[in-house]
Each structure stands twice: as C-alpha cells, then as structure tokens.
C-alpha cells in the first residue's frame, strides 16, 4: 500500500509527513473504543472553537482591543500591567492592541498563501496523478522538484525581488513554495484511490475522468488534504512572519507580528516584552493549527 502512496522517488514531503498513509491510520482506528473516540471528537471541537474565536477577532479586532494600535497613549516602555496588558513599545503604543490588530494581517495573508498552494497543488497533483508515468506526469514532477529544490524563504525573496515588498506578494510567494507539498500529496492519494474497487466500477459504468474525480476521488482524498492544509497553514504563518521580520512583508508602522518582533529586537536589553510577546502570540496560533492538523489526521 505504501508503495502506491509514495511518489516514484522515495524522497518527498508527502512521503515524509503522511508516510504511513491515511488508510493505515483508518484501519488502526477501526478498533478504537467509543469512549476514547468521543473524547477525541470533543477535543477537536474545542480546538475548532478556539480557531473560530481567532477568526472573529481577526475580522473585528476592535471587539477585544483596548487602545488604538497607532495612537501614542502611554509612557514608552511601560512593562505589562493592568491598563497595558502587554506593556507599551518604544513610542508608547499599546502592545496588546497592536498584537490583536496584527492577527488580522497574519491570518489573512496565511489564508491567501494556503489557498494559492491548495489550488495550484491540487491542479498539478490531479493532472499528474491521473496517468502516473505519462510525459505530463514527468514534466510536472521535474517542475515540482525544481521548486522544492529552492528553499521556501529564497523562493519568496526571489518573487519579492521582482514584484516588490508587501504582505500580498509575500503571501503569494509562500503559497507558490507550499504548492509543491500539496502537489505531491494529491498525486499520491489520487493514484492510490484510483486503485479502489468503486472507482474502477465507476469507470466500468462509463464515468469519464472528470466525473470520476469529482464524484468518487475528491470525497476520498478530502480528509488527508484537509489535515495537511491545517499543517501548511501554520507553516505559512511562520514563513510570512520570517519574511516580514527580514523586512520584506508589511512596512514598519504596521502591527504585523514579524514587524513587531523585528522592531522590538533593538530594545531587547531593557524591554523584553516588545519582541517576546508578539512571538508568543505567533507560537500560540501555530501550535493551535498544528494540533488541529494532528487531530484531523487521527480522526480519519
């Protein structure tokens, strides 16, 4: 089974991350006692609720923000206290409100990156998975590996060199790099699921390739791809953070988390919170997303 799931070359993101295969996990889960299953489902729901809360905060940051993120309404470098939960930065802006407003930029650019990666990766993966070994599969395989060969940060930097800095460009660049993983994964599951009996049956009944994909294969590959998406969402957040830390994402007055961390690093010696707290926020969101990815993978 793993043989069909693995790409031709034994090295691959899909192979490394989901190597043992969703089917193997499903077989292992079949014998799970109902009480444990219920507990795990509850855990998923709690995590999804947390994520929903984050999305609400991202859309309406003023709901929880206590100050204006750009207003200078405090003494510079006040340490965290009752009025300024996370303290203030070098010119007296409220760090808590800035972090809350920064969530919007981070979540939205990560969403853009993941959507680009998902769409591009699925198209490439399905095209190459339909007829494994065909010339199209080979060309797309070499192309995928060529993109993988360039480290994600460098690829994004190359795109930024051409199209200029900005959160939008950075997100699309990150999505481009992440598309390779999706392409590998989707190719693997498409090849695997086209060996299922019901897919062969559908073909025998005269279903064309498009119908076979949309009605029979996609519902089956949905789950592993969903879990992988959650994982890549976290990685996209980290990558976008790194890019804006390097100075290629949002420009400084913006409360994007990478920008906040880069700005705070200069004052690390006497005001640790300016750089450390936005990083904690970023870590918390990524941990949440990774946990969701893990739970979804287990759930299948």
């Amino acid at each position: 089974m793993t043989d069909t799931l693995l790409p031709d070359t034994p090295v691959g993101v899909g192979a490394a991350k989901t190597g043992s295969g969703p089917v193997a996990a499903a077989v292992a889960r079949a014998a799970e006692p109902p009480r444990r299953r219920r507990r795990r489902l509850k855990e998923i729901h709690v995590h999804l609720l947390l994520l929903a809360a984050l999305v609400v905060i991202a859309v309406f940051p003023t709901l929880v923000a206590t100050h204006d993120p750009f207003e200078l309404d405090g003494i510079p470098f006040t340490s965290p206290n009752g009025t300024h939960f996370f303290g203030t930065d070098e010119i007296g802006r409220d760090l808590y409100s800035r972090v809350v407003h920064g969530l919007q930029i981070s979540l939205f650019s990560a969403t853009l990156a993941v959507v680009v990666a998902l769409v591009l990766g699925s198209v490439v993966g399905i095209l190459s998975g339909l007829r494994p070994g065909s010339w199209l599969d080979r060309v797309l395989g070499v192309g995928t590996e060529a993109v993988m060969a360039v480290p994600a940060v460098l690829l994004a930097l190359a795109v930024i060199t051409t199209y200029g800095r900005g959160a939008f460009v950075a997100a699309i660049a990150i999505g481009l790099g992440e598309a390779t993983g999706f392409a590998r994964l989707v190719r693997g599951v498409v090849i695997q699921s086209s060996t299922f009996t019901f897919v062969e049956a559908a073909r025998t009944c005269g279903a064309g390739p498009i119908r076979t994909i949309t009605r029979h294969i996609v519902p089956n590959v949905f789950h592993p791809v969903l879990s992988y998406t959650a994982l890549q969402f976290g990685l996209a957040l980290l990558a976008i953070g790194s890019l804006s830390y390097l100075g290629f994402g949002e420009a400084p007055p913006s409360p994007e988390w990478g920008v906040l961390i880069a700005g705070g690093q200069k004052y690390l010696a006497h005001a640790w919170w300016v750089a450390i707290i936005p990083g904690l926020a970023l870590t918390a969101v990524v941990v949440l997303l990774n946990r969701i990815a893990y739970l979804l993978q287990e759930d299948h």
Partner: protein, 349 residues
C-alpha cells in the same frame, strides 16, 4: 568498476542470491537515472528563476545607480541608461541573456553583480565558509540529538516521561525560528551573559545560532523517528519475538528497530538540508552574521538580479545533490528499491 567474481553460494531459498555484479549494475543504473533527473531539475530551477527574475515590470539597470525607483534619476538622461544597459548586458534580447546564462552555468560562471560588478562566484566564495560552518555544525549535532530525543520518547517505562519527550519536538517545530533566536539572545546573552549576541568573528558567537538550528533539526528528525519507531515496536518481531528470546526493550530498540526506522529518517534528512539553508538565511540576520543569508537579503533589497539568481541556483544544486546521494543511499540499503528502479527503467526505455 572492478570486475567481481561470483562467490555467492547457491542458497536453498527460492529467491536466487543476487551476485555482486548485478548489485553493481543495478546501483549504477540508479545512479545514472538520478544524474539525468538531477540535471533536469537544476535546469528547470535555473530557467524558472531566470524568467521569474528577468521578465520584470521594473528596470534592473536602476540597481546599478543604487535606486529602485525613478525619483532620483531625473538628471540622468535616457542615453546614459542605455549605455549602462549595454555595459551590463541588459540590452540584449531576453533569449540571448538566457542562453549566455546557461552557457555560463556550464563554465561555472554566474555572471557579475549588477551593483558593483564583482563576480557572483567571488561573492559566494566569500559568504559560503561562514554559512557552511553554521549549517554543517548544526546538522552534525542535530542527528545524534534527534536520535536521543526519539529514544527518550519511546524507551522509558513511564508513560508520562514518554509522552512528555514526544511533546518536546512537536512543540519546538511550531516556534518561529527568528523568535527562538531572539529568545536565546535574551536568555543566554543579555540575562546570563554567557555568549555574545551576534557577530561572526569569534567561535563563541557560533554557539547560539548553531544551538537554534541544531535543536530545530533534532526536533524534526525526532518527530519522524518517534512515529517510525512506534510502528516498529508494534510489529511481531519487536513485540513478541524479541521479548520471547529475553531481549530487553532497549536492546530490541537499539539492535532491531533503529535500522528499520532509519529509512523515513533518511528521507527527512535530505529535505532538512534544503530547509536548513533557508533557516540559516533568517538566523544569520537575527545574529547579524555575515554569510549567504546576509548576501541574499542585501541583494534582494538592492534588486541585484544576477546575485539573487546565482544564489538560487547554487542552493538548488546543493539540495539536488544531497537528495541524489540520499536516493542512492536508499538503493544501496534496500534491494527492493534497486530492483524496482531498474525494472521501471527497462519498461520506459
């Protein structure tokens, strides 16, 4: 290749013993296949990044005069810009530039910087030693550390210890690399004063960046090793046969399971090299070290297309070569892959 005499005795097993000459032939076939593939991948990476970088809406020649917009160039007439373009070869047609670049790649010549005319290979040679020291040391440390973490997460009898040790690597990979760097600077440099917070002169400045990257690599290796070791421990040979003959849990892990668990580890090792090179870019900026990362950031800021292209191509070559070696290592270790590779080649050729 030396000719080998067939010394293997006929075995009573059904499968015929593979003579060494076949092994050599199979492996060299794998090597040849991988070489062609690697060359194709590098060519594709070069072409893609060339067209990405050079078919651009802006004007690359502006990098030459140290600006990226037209605000400061009002006093320079179009004629001067054309002369400049001629000078750096940007006025040739795109295809001429492309073919010149490919030809240069074969000669080991990556062109020269648009900003200061220095050869890209010289710039790289200057930046590489620092980066290689950082990346190499952290990779070297992360392998034993990863194995140690994985054994800690699988071997102890206490369930609490095991689940805690399994949690550490998955938590660490969720942390932003640049933020860990800053955290380490705050803890070990500002608060405790043990190591310098940056720079690339002294050896002690290497400690913190190496620690950040080595831990990250170790965490990734441990994650893969833990899941494959758990699978191995569930198999019959480890859960029934080994205890039945009196082997301890650690003996079973060390002598039986680790070897089987090493295959997914190899795959991740190849991928890790690529990520490590990306990670060093960020870490070098955090710790203000000189190296590939600094060169990359500076040339992106200056829109120095040739240097960016050169860096992308060199790092792609490193990645491809490492992964090719990993693949060949696979086929040396696992005869099944070797045979499959040779049969697929026969089918296609």
């Amino acid at each position: 290749m030396t000719t080998t005499t067939d010394t293997t005795e006929p075995t009573p097993l059904e499968t015929p013993a593979t003579p060494r000459s076949t092994v050599v032939r199979d492996v060299s076939r794998v090597v040849a296949g991988r070489l062609v593939h690697a060359a194709l991948v590098i060519y594709a990476a070069y072409s893609a990044s060339f067209f990405l970088l050079f078919v651009l809406p802006g004007d690359a020649v502006l990098a030459r005069i140290g600006t990226t917009d037209t605000v400061g160039v009002a006093d320079i007439s179009d004629l001067d810009l054309d002369v400049l373009r001629d000078e750096v070869g940007l006025s040739d047609s795109l295809w001429t530039q492309y073919w010149n670049g490919i030809a240069g790649l074969f000669r080991g010549d990556l062109g020269s910087s648009l900003v200061n005319d220095r050869a890209v290979t010289d710039l790289l040679a200057e930046a590489l030693p620092n980066t290689l020291a950082l990346a190499g040391l952290s990779l070297l440390l992360s392998v034993p550390l990863g194995f140690l973490l994985a054994l800690l997460a699988v071997n102890p009898r206490s369930r609490l210890v095991r689940s805690f040790a399994a949690l550490v690597p998955s938590a660490y990979v969720s942390l932003p690399v640049f933020w860990i760097g800053i955290l380490f600077i705050y803890l070990f440099s500002i608060t405790l004063g043990w190591f310098p917070s940056g720079g690339s002169q002294s050896a002690s400045a290497l400690v913190l960046p190496v620690a950040v990257l080595a831990l990250l690599g170790a965490a990734q290796f441990a994650q893969v090793l833990i899941s494959s070791l758990r699978t191995e421990l569930g198999t019959t040979y480890a859960s029934v046969t080994a205890p039945a003959k009196g082997a301890s849990r650690f003996y079973t892990l060390w002598h039986h399971c680790l070897r089987n668990a090493a295959f997914p580890f190899l795959a991740v090792f190849g991928l890790r090299v690529g990520q490590l090179l990306g990670g060093t870019v960020v870490i070098e900026v955090v710790f203000s070290r000189t190296g590939i990362g600094r060169l990359m950031v500076d040339s992106v800021k200056a829109v120095d297309l040739t240097v960016v292209l050169g860096l992308v191509v060199v790092l792609a070559i490193v990645y491809v070569v490492v992964n090719m070696l990993v693949d060949i290592g696979y086929s040396l270790l696992d005869p099944r892959l070797r045979r499959r590779a040779s049969t697929t080649q026969e089918v296609t050729s």
